[in-house]
Point group: C2
Amino acid sequence: MNIVDTYKELFVTYLNEKIKVREPINLYEPVQYILQIGGKRLRPVLTIMTCELFNGNAKLAYDAALGVEIFHNFTLVHDDIMDHAPIRRGKETVHQKWDINTGILSGDAMMILAYQCFESYEATIYKKLLKVFNKTALEVCEGQQLDVDFETRNDVTITEYIKMITYKTSVLLAAAMKMGAIIANVNEEEAEKIYEFGLNLGIAFQLQDDYLDTFGNSKEFGKQIGGDILENKKTFLYLKTLEVCDKNDKEQLLNFYKSKFQNNSKIMEVTSLFKKNKIPEIVTNEIEQYSNKAFNILDELSITEEKKRTLKSVGLNLMKRTI
Amino acid sequence: MNIVDTYKELFVTYLNEKIKVREPINLYEPVQYILQIGGKRLRPVLTIMTCELFNGNAKLAYDAALGVEIFHNFTLVHDDIMDHAPIRRGKETVHQKWDINTGILSGDAMMILAYQCFESYEATIYKKLLKVFNKTALEVCEGQQLDVDFETRNDVTITEYIKMITYKTSVLLAAAMKMGAIIANVNEEEAEKIYEFGLNLGIAFQLQDDYLDTFGNSKEFGKQIGGDILENKKTFLYLKTLEVCDKNDKEQLLNFYKSKFQNNSKIMEVTSLFKKNKIPEIVTNEIEQYSNKAFNILDELSITEEKKRTLKSVGLNLMKRTI
């Protein structure tokens, strides 16, 4: 078993011990349900692993890891309501299994439960952790709002798009790592570096998600290829094409994205527009830039070379989607 | 101007300075909207006043007061979605003016903004305040869930009902006061006493709300008399009647509450059932017991007699609904 799987297993055991259904049952049953239907547990693993890599006591990182995981799942519960999503991780979403009001209220309770997880830390560490948590949580909400705003906007720039995916996803990965570093009592400068590592890796991961949705292998990717195109999602691929293509291609692409016509020929035609404009090369290059930026930060850290290699291999496995 | 109005005015000035609309506008505009359409500002006033009564620097209490007020307004935004309420304080509710998704997401952001307000306190006070805040916030969610659960239950006891109104309303009033005491650096025992004062006064206030909804004067009460009866709300009056009345009255009352028939004769007939069973006397006695319990706690506090009188007069004015 690799290091990530070991941490994951230990974390899930801890979560199952801590998260019990209590009264009022209708409030806490959905909380336990969403927390136990799985997920990669990537964020809590990053918190625990980072704490240990910085020579902290990994056991002390579990409560922060749990807080981060509960917060992440809270965002899923509320986002699924907003997106009218019936399925998550192959199971019914909370508002689908119960109702929208239950999704709202149990989600609210989860956010508070997330905050409560941090109460085991002594006051100074506690405040440091919560400042990171507050800032990150608010950015995640802002990211979700930007995502909603973009749906009805036709002038989204690549810069704005990167900001949106950064806030919606990367900041929480970065914060999860920074919290591990804080618990290990590293100085602010060092904690900020590991934050930057997580942030850039997170952006690379999200861009790769956009890439694989069109150019991936459906088996490895785990989702249907072309889903973003069918849903007219304004991904990096789409926005970059609009930025670099000629007038004729632009008109075609805009037309495809106006139609709600859902078929394979739409996927094929849009994909070939992307290819014609060298989008696969551009996005691959962009992904490489963000991941290189992440890996270069590792050189600046004051941990052993062996530990840097561990972090790099976790990063590479994340990009290869083997964790 | 009395002391409460002075604090209120100072607090509103502070709130208006702090709460500005920023990007993304669609996230923060609803936050500013709900926070600026008024309200009694009772909770923040209690925080500031309690801090000063315990010889603390009132200026230091404003951030906690703001946190409590933002949290309270967050609960209103989400509760109004759950209750399908179109109007709040004479204005459109957030989900009515924008949409449900905006209500959910802006509400979420408000909860985090509430937590962020406390960051100005040094670590030890910060942690003490947040522990109170976390516990209280979770109880408020539990109170809302109990309220929802009671709608479809026919076996709600008076004890359960008191627990529901305590969690849904009183704990936040009590916590608002306790936070003021914590900021004034009083010891835990003293802080707990002021919490108990707020809690019992809050329960008395809620029971009086039930009483006035049926037996009040519509001008003073500010709402239509008999609203609870028309909505078949299981108030203290209703539950107590079921507990004390004979079989025949019980059958009648249950039948009235089964019907969705909405007219004045329903109000009159249910009211006379309440009167026949001496509910006005019973509830008045109950209100008196809770407010006496609150006022008796004041004797135990180690503040000057003059300050105790101030607290008592604020409590009495609250019960007379002049604040």
